[in-house]
Subunit: 169 residues, 2 copies
DNA sequence: GAAAGATACTTCGGTATAGAAGTAATTGCA
DNA sequence: TGCAATTACTTCTATACCGAAGTATCTTTC
């Protein structure tokens, strides 16, 4: 059943892959640092960091489904459900049954949720500014495109296995 | 007190920073995908994903302190405490008071913990291989060095604030 | 047009993570 | 030498996340 993600480990690696030279390691470390920095910013504003990613989606496009939010934030749907609940409690969004497809909810910003954009968005720039200090523009762009490609590569491995257990072709 | 991590949001960003073009966004997405892929591999082997990062450190250098593990894995010390407890329960490591400095523990691999190296290490290469498919060697290396620089930049902002509230110089 | 499958969401249980505050051991310094 | 600061670790509480399994709704298919 599995293919990219095997049950039996692949034959021993040719290169032992030192952590420093490993993409997985560097991505994880960078992520942890971004995450802590972001948390520090947001907690000062009394906003839970889990909200951030959802707010960013909603500021761009309001009234979307939880599925859409999950896809955009790269988070599982049950996680989104939990966090949206929490955001409703905090008065940042409301839920409304979609009339077209009654399985769905529309998640809608409240005034308070919308107002946070002005207060919080500058942090996105702030964090990226700090993070990218001393990095040439071209290098950064290349890095981001490599990250994007890696995300796509890893998603592929997954879709094949988890989302489509039976090959369609 | 804070400096890099401000209480008052910085003045409004010059560029609105579209998510796709944001380093934070790309790093986070890549991290989530790596994380899921890794989890899928490890759960098939009955190993909790939290163990992985600690095992990797211990396979290289056995008998280190929890502090050292925390530093190497970029994880807070209380998190390390929890996970090491869990690893002890699962019989992968043991703890031994350091006789030189009795505040410390040495975390030591059991035979079982050591044996996992052969079984699990190939995944490090596997994941990186899948992730970096179609990416030029030079581009990857540049990407990793940019990630490293970003991690350093973000850590700096933190150390200034959290680790050294009072300037030493 | 009814059963089978897919989709959107929820609930439950568990892991991974952090911050804050506490304890014990060590180090630094007056 | 003795007390203050620091360090290593723990405990408590809360958040962020996932997989599995369940419900309701929609779609497909014969």
């Amino acid at each position: 059943m599995a293919d990219r993600v095997r049950t039996i480990p692949p034959s021993s690696s040719p290169t032992p892959v030192s952590p420093e030279a490993s993409a997985g390691y560097q991505v994880r470390r960078a992520h942890r640092r971004f995450d802590r920095f972001l948390n520090a910013c947001l907690s000062r504003q009394g906003v839970k960091s889990g909200f951030w990613y959802y707010l960013r989606v909603l500021w761009i496009r309001d009234g979307v489904s939880q599925k859409y939010l999950s896809d955009m934030t790269n988070v599982a749907e049950n996680t989104t459900a939990t966090i949206v609940n929490s955001m409703v409690e905090d008065g940042l969004v409301t839920r409304k049954r979609d009339t077209e497809d009654r399985r769905r909810f529309s998640v809608l910003l409240t005034d308070r949720g919308r107002a946070l954009e002005k207060k919080l968005m500058p942090y996105a720039a702030e964090i990226n500014t700090v993070a990218t200090e001393g990095i040439a523009e071209a290098d950064l762009e290349l890095c981001l495109s490599v990250l994007k490609r890696m995300s796509e590569n890893l998603a592929l491995g997954f879709d094949e296995h988890d989302k489509r257990p039976s090959e369609k072709a």
